[in-house]
């Protein structure tokens, strides 16, 4: 194939996954946590599509489309939760929302 090999794409996908994990762990605004989750999912998607191209097998692309649908569902429920938290006048801070802590 023209251009960089699969390993370069996998490097970018690993970086995206790491940065997304950093955002999920570091940020306290649930909206940014959701955005960072999207970055992690997209890092995994890039690896899936790179392996699909590498192995000349369509299952990776099908899996990537399924991951996209899961991400859309996750955003739907997550944003619903964020709006519900906001309507109750609670602080939008994942550290402050500790009522369910055992």
């Amino acid at each position: 194939m023209l251009g960089p090999g699969i390993a370069w794409y996998l490097g970018v996908s690993a970086f995206l996954f790491g940065v997304g994990a950093l955002g999920v762990l570091l940020r306290r605004n649930p909206l940014i946590v959701l955005l960072s989750l999207e970055i992690m999912l997209n890092g995994a998607n890039l690896a899936l599509i790179a392996f699909s191209r590498h192995a000349h097998n369509g299952a990776g692309q099908i899996f990537a489309l399924a991951v996209m649908a899961v991400a859309a569902s996750e955003v739907c429920v997550g944003l619903g939760l964020v709006v519900a938290i906001h309507r109750r006048n609670l602080a939008l801070d994942v550290d402050a929302l500790s009522e369910l802590r055992g």
């Binding site: 995206l16 994990a21 762990l25 940014i32 997209n42 998607n45 399924a66 429920v77």
Partner: protein
């Protein structure tokens, strides 16, 4: 010549991808973070095109950068830009542990790739013109991966029901109060 052009496009797209991902995590304003994520998704679509996944790239732009991010921007505009300083209190145990964990994940994946990069990953098969085209994806979805297709629709349905329930529950709380 074609090889050089593909390299140039790849470097630009990968750099845009990495820079916008860092911007999403480090920007203080959630609105700007969401806009940076749109740039991230767009540059990822370019990488998908380079991997001859045309339909996934189109779906990425339409579904992600279009529908999902518009929903994000609506919610951020509804809630209002709550400023947050992500690097404040930098030296707390939680932040240091977060950075160390993310770095450990990244290093672990890179080591795993590096161990395999010289061997089987070096040579990729050539693909024909139909690889990644919408018709090819559609045929796969309706033959080999029919179960995944149907289960995906159920997942989306359950998520939609969950979103409606979350919304109506808060509305009932407001009328009771």
């Amino acid at each position: 010549m074609g090889n050089f052009l593909v390299w140039v496009v790849w470097v630009v797209a990968a750099f845009a991808c990495i820079a916008s991902a860092v911007a999403v995590v480090s920007l203080r304003n959630p609105f700007l973070s969401a806009l940076a994520l749109i740039g991230n998704l767009g540059s990822l679509a370019v990488l998908y095109l380079l991997l001859s996944a045309e339909f996934v790239a189109a779906a990425q732009v339409l579904v992600y950068a279009g529908a999902v991010m518009v929903m994000f921007l609506f919610v951020i505009a509804y809630i209002g830009p709550a400023q947050e300083t992500p690097w404040a209190g930098w030296s707390t145990v939680q932040n240091v542990a977060a950075v160390l964990t993310a770095a450990a994940i990244f290093v672990e994946i890179m080591v795993a790739i590096g161990l395999k990069a010289g061997g089987r990953l070096a040579h990729s098969d050539h693909v024909n013109g139909t690889f990644g085209s919408p018709g090819w994806i559609g045929r796969l979805f309706l033959t080999d991966h029919l179960l995944a297709f149907e289960i995906t629709s159920i997942v989306l349905l359950v998520a939609a029901v969950g979103g409606v329930i979350l919304g109506s529950h808060t509305r009932r709380l407001e009328t009771e109060a």
